[in-house]
């Protein structure tokens, strides 16, 4: 099909959920209310590391209005995790607390005030233990152990080597060694964690929470509660952002169900933003010792990367996190010889799991920064070095994956042109500079459990279309995009397609919303389901048109044989004939998975069939540095992404704007800080600084149109790619502007000021 043949796909149609959201009628988890519903609250640990000697709940239970109190003993001996081999986390603390704010008990009461009062009456006897609060302390001989089973506090590791790194370094003209580090950051979704659980008389659980990947939550709940999957039904309400902080079943999710089972009444638990910022999921603090070698002409030759990440008290998805950093060693750049040695360390800090862009964001930062420094040291143009080394279409990466499509070269071209790379570098303004960087991201991957995506499309007797898909609408816009795909295939209007809340009873839940997976995997499943129902309606229409079903075209709410477009019947007439004349219902279903998809061996690295495609982004940022205060002001940002064909360019732009703003936060403002006892110093929106609209510069976005062979309508993932380049672009721009080489974000005014001062004094 030619581009201009598409009626709905590729068009910036307004969001399908726009009206309900802007009118305030979208139902989020905390909006839900059930008859006889109780309110739950969690009691949290005031210590980062302590043994629980005893929990006395008797006084709390006697408080009028309290209906149940539970502790770790209500989940006897259970540990859950991202996969069986990484299970280390009890639903709530059992014998020991491993980070400040970890839940140790939960209460269900008639109202929230009573539940809060009851928390005051629970007496927990702790034996305080020395906390381990940094990776350096954690790895020291004789350091206190966060988990008794994990010697030296090492949670998991990943090592591999491609090519011959030692030999390759000998052929380099220039080798640079640098230690870089990125900070622990929180996740800033607007809607706090919330869960509502109801248990019926047969023991069947209805769970409605603010969950990003209901499938993961579903499996965790069954595992953590010791009940079979079919006893849990998940209905997902609208979600107010997740950014990978809402995959796993969390303390409140387990406790809401357990309390509902105990009281035989619905229980809702909502967590304060103040608890979330400081004590729930965060991004790993990462330390990278990097050695990189390059030829005089700018060809990258070898990288040796040692990497330690501090991930807090439990592993979560750390194994995948390490693997992805290794896989993305230098992507989207080609480095034929790579050695990677990564360790994930336990500490008594809140748990680090995935955050939008996962490890690729940090890998993108580290390698783009390194390439920029290599180029500057050799007197080469960083952009030219980047351009020279980007991976090409059809290329197989050292890690086994193949680049099925890429528009990165055109993206680089476009961004360099629009930002004025050449002109501005030739006509420099003091204290101003431009930084360039390129990023890449997978389009989903296979993890444990089921991994195909699936969809059901129904055509109702009135000609409207109901779509059920396994993906989760988190705000990223997948419902809109899938409605567009469905409308395109059935030749109906976008407005004719309806989507309801995700329900594990109606649809097969997707394996999760991670790694830019949804558009590609669920999108292909939606296409398959739409084609399936279309073929059923085509049979009915073929009889009416006296044509062959395979010759029929569905377009503009009409159906006709391809050679006789003037003899069309209306879509609705065919549908009515199916229901009222023939006696046939119109259901279609479809599923898709990346053919041959493998689960990567997270500790070894090599995997040929890891992801169906890679998407790319090129980004430039212009900054101005105030030499008297060190303050960095972002003047302008230009990005061009290759997400294959954007199904909805408006939504992709929204993702790009959001992704840029998100990582501007990590580049300039955000850091999660803890005191010597492991208590958060930045545990509220007041102290934890995410950027405001005033801090985000003008963002100009472009799309490079590429057709990916495996993508739905040629599309690839878009929501995370846009996060992978901007941090390095900002860093590189600061060096370009004032000649200081900073490598540890956030680049606060004081850090920049000190570097400027050191530079000045060094010159004297």
């Amino acid at each position: 099909m030619q581009d201009n043949d598409y009626r709905v796909v590729g068009k910036p149609v307004p969001r399908i959920d726009g009206k309900v959201k802007v009118t305030g009628t979208a139902t989020f988890a905390d909006d839900l209310f059930m008859p006889r519903m109780l309110h739950g609250k969690l009691l949290r640990s005031p210590y980062a590391h302590a043994r629980i000697k005893n929990i006395d709940t008797r006084k709390a239970e006697k408080l009028p209005g309290v209906r149940a109190v539970i502790t770790g003993k209500d989940f006897p001996g259970i540990v859950v995790g991202f996969m069986k081999q990484y299970a280390d986390r009890p639903p709530i603390a059992f014998d020991k607390v491993r980070h400040y704010g970890e839940a140790v008990a939960a209460v269900a009461a008639e109202d929230e005030d009573t539940a809060e009062d009851a928390l005051d009456l629970i007496e927990v006897t702790y034996e305080e233990l020395p906390p381990v609060l940094s990776w350096e302390e954690a790895l020291k001989e004789g350091a206190p152990l966060v988990h008794e089973h994990a010697k030296n506090n090492i949670g998991t590791t990943c090592q591999f080597e491609y090519g011959n790194v030692d030999e390759a370094f000998k052929t380099c003209d220039y080798v640079l060694e640098k230690k870089l580090a990125t900070q622990r950051v929180a996740i800033g979704f607007i809607e706090p964690h919330a869960a509502l659980a109801k248990v019926d008389g047969s023991g069947r659980v209805l769970f409605q929470g603010s969950k990003q990947s209901p499938y993961i939550t579903w499996r965790h709940l069954a595992w953590g509660l010791g009940i079979p999957l079919d006893k849990i039904r998940i209905v997902n309400p609208y979600i107010g952002g997740a950014f990978s902080g809402k995959h796993e079943a969390l303390d409140l999710d387990f406790c809401a169900v357990r309390l509902a089972q105990k009281t035989k009444r619905p229980v809702k638990i909502v967590v304060n933003q103040e608890d979330i910022i400081g004590t729930y999921r965060q991004r790993h603090e990462k330390h990278v010792w990097l050695k990189a070698g390059i030829k005089k002409d700018g060809t990258l030759v070898a990288m040796d990367c040692k990497y330690i990440s501090d991930g807090g008290a439990y592993l979560s998805v750390a194994a995948l996190n390490l693997y992805l950093f290794g896989l993305f060693n230098a992507l989207p750049f080609r480095v034929p010889n790579v050695r990677y040695d990564a360790t994930r360390v336990y500490t008594n800090l809140p748990v680090c799991g995935a955050v939008r862009g996962q490890s690729q964001v940090i890998a993108g930062y580290v390698f783009n920064a390194m390439i920029d420094m290599l180029a500057k040291d050799l007197g080469l143009d960083p952009l030219e070095v980047m351009r020279k080394n980007i991976v090409k279409q059809g290329e197989t990466l050292p890690s086994g994956s193949k680049i099925s499509s890429t528009g990165l070269e055109q993206a680089i071209e476009k961004v360099a042109d629009i930002i004025g790379w050449k002109e501005k570098r030739a006509n420099r303004v003091p204290n101003r500079g431009i930084g360039f960087a390129c990023g890449a991201q997978i389009s989903g991957c296979r993890m444990g459990g089921h991994f195909a995506s699936s969809a059901i499309v129904k055509i109702g007797e009135d000609g409207t279309v109901q779509l059920i898909h396994g993906g989760t609408e988190l705000g990223q816009g997948c419902d809109t995009v899938f409605a567009q795909m469905t409308a395109e295939i059935l030749g109906v209007d976008f407005e004719d397609v309806q989507i309801e809340m995700e329900d594990s009873h109606d649809g097969i839940l997707d394996s999760g919303m991670f790694g830019d997976r949804c558009t590609t995997w669920s999108g292909n499943a939606v296409i398959a389901a739409a084609e399936d129902v279309k073929s059923k309606l085509a049979e009915v229409a073929a009889d009416m048109l006296e044509a062959k079903a395979e010759d029929l075209v569905f377009r503009d709410k009409k159906i006709f044989a391809k050679d006789t477009p003037d003899q069309a019947i209306s879509f609705l007439r065919a549908v009515r004939n199916a229901y009222y004349g023939v006696g046939k219902s119109l259901y279609g279903s479809g599923s898709w998975s990346f053919p041959g998809a493998e689960i990567a061996d997270f500790s070894q690295g090599y995997c040929e069939k890891f992801t169906p495609s890679f998407s790319f982004v090129a980004q430039a940022v212009e900054v101005e540095v105030d030499p008297e205060t060190g303050k960095v002001t972002l003047l302008n940002s230009v990005a061009a992404d290759d997400c294959g064909r954007p199904i909805n360019p408006l939504l992709v732009e929204g993702q790009m704007d959001g992704g840029s703003a998100h990582m501007i936060g990590q580049a300039l403002y955000e850091i999660s800080l803890y005191n010597k006892k492991g208590v958060p110093l930045t545990g509220s929106m007041r102290t934890y600084k995410i950027p405001t609209a005033l801090d985000v510069p003008k963002l100009t976005n472009y799309h490079v149109l590429v057709h990916d062979p495996l993508g739905p309508f040629g599309a690839k993932g878009a929501g995370e790619t846009c996060t992978t380049a901007i941090m390095a672009a900002i860093r590189n721009a600061i060096e370009d502007a004032v000649g200081v080489r900073l490598v540890e974000p956030p680049f606060t005014p004081e850090k920049v000021f000190k570097a400027l001062k050191a530079k000045k004094e060094g010159k004297k």
Binding site: L43, P46, D113, E116, V124, T629, L673, L681, P691, P749
Partner: protein
């Protein structure tokens, strides 16, 4: 037994609605510390949720008429009533015309939502070192009008605040208004808030300067530093460098240097080291003075 300090729902309290200031003051004096006046509530309610304060009575000033006045009178100056919101002061044509520094300072405070709720008097009474309205009020020589059972009194803003969160206001007293004096001609003032981000931020350091010139001679100068000490600090030594002397790049630089020395910031993991904050006080004082000068023409 150590407890996790969660942010909780509001504690139970009684909401009292006096009709006059006198009624309010009588109620406060009868109940001493058990009663707290409520204006915008942006600090108070959060402190109650944190259980930092648990008043038995909230005395709502909103039920008293005309407390939201913003009025300028020739020969008297500006009066800002206890309920005048920060947004109202920010957008008042009179304030913009006669005291642009106050409007400018108001525009830097919190977010539009907070400015719509919070009051200027509340910002002064909360007495936080980083309070955005205070340095400008001090630079303008504003006074606080206090009402109590015995009558009323005027206290300069700089004497009103005594420590972090502390003022001279007794439990049975109320602030009725702020009074800002008439300013001499040939004057100009600037507030610079230096924070980590563009909005919803507490300053790393804040500087307000107000100067008046007679030709090139600096006849009046007031410099107030915010967020770099337990209270807003009048930079008196910096002022004395300029007062009665020519306003030149050299004297401005020397004054800025003095201001930097007079600042008393703490090192904070969130807002930077003391040394850095002192340095920025110097840079910002210089900028504020030059910007004040530019307004005089």
């Amino acid at each position: 037994m150590k407890k996790y300090p969660s942010v909780r729902r509001l504690p139970k309290f009684e909401y009292v609605t006096p009709k006059t200031l006198k009624e309010a003051v009588d109620f406060l004096s009868k109940h001493d510390k058990a009663a707290t006046p409520l204006a915008g509530g942006t600090d108070l309610l959060l402190n109650m949720k944190r259980r930092a304060v648990v008043p038995q009575y909230l005395v709502a000033l909103k039920s008293i008429p005309d407390l939201d006045t913003i009025a300028y009178k020739e020969g008297q100056g500006l009066r800002i009533g206890a309920l005048a919101t920060i947004h109202a002061v920010e957008t008042s044509p009179e304030v913009k015309h006669k005291y642009p520094i106050l409007s400018q300072a108001a525009s830097t405070l919190g977010s539009i939502q907070i400015r719509n709720l919070g009051t200027v008097v509340g910002n002064v009474c909360s007495a936080l070192p980083s309070a955005d309205m205070v340095p400008s009020l001090v630079a303008l020589g504003a006074q606080v009008k206090i009402i109590n059972g015995a009558g009323e009194k005027l206290v300069p803003v700089e004497d009103f605040i005594t420590n972090v969160g502390k003022t001279v206001l007794a439990a049975d007293e109320l602030v009725e208004e702020l009074q800002v004096p008439i300013l001499p001609a040939h004057g100009g003032g600037t507030y610079i808030k230096y924070a980590q981000r563009g909005a919803k931020a507490l300053g790393i350091c804040n500087v307000a300067t107000w100067i008046a010139l007679d030709k090139d001679i600096c006849t009046e100068v007031r410099i107030c530093l915010g967020a770099v000490g337990q209270t807003p600090i009048r930079a008196l030594q910096a002022e004395s460098v300029l007062k009665g002397n020519a306003f030149t790049p050299e004297t401005v630089k020397a004054a800025a240097q003095k201001a930097s020395e007079e600042a008393q910031p703490r090192s904070s993991p969130l807002r930077g080291s003391a040394a850095y904050r002192k340095t920025t006080v110097g840079a910002l004082t210089q900028r504020a003075l030059l910007s004040s000068r530019a307004q005089i023409g």
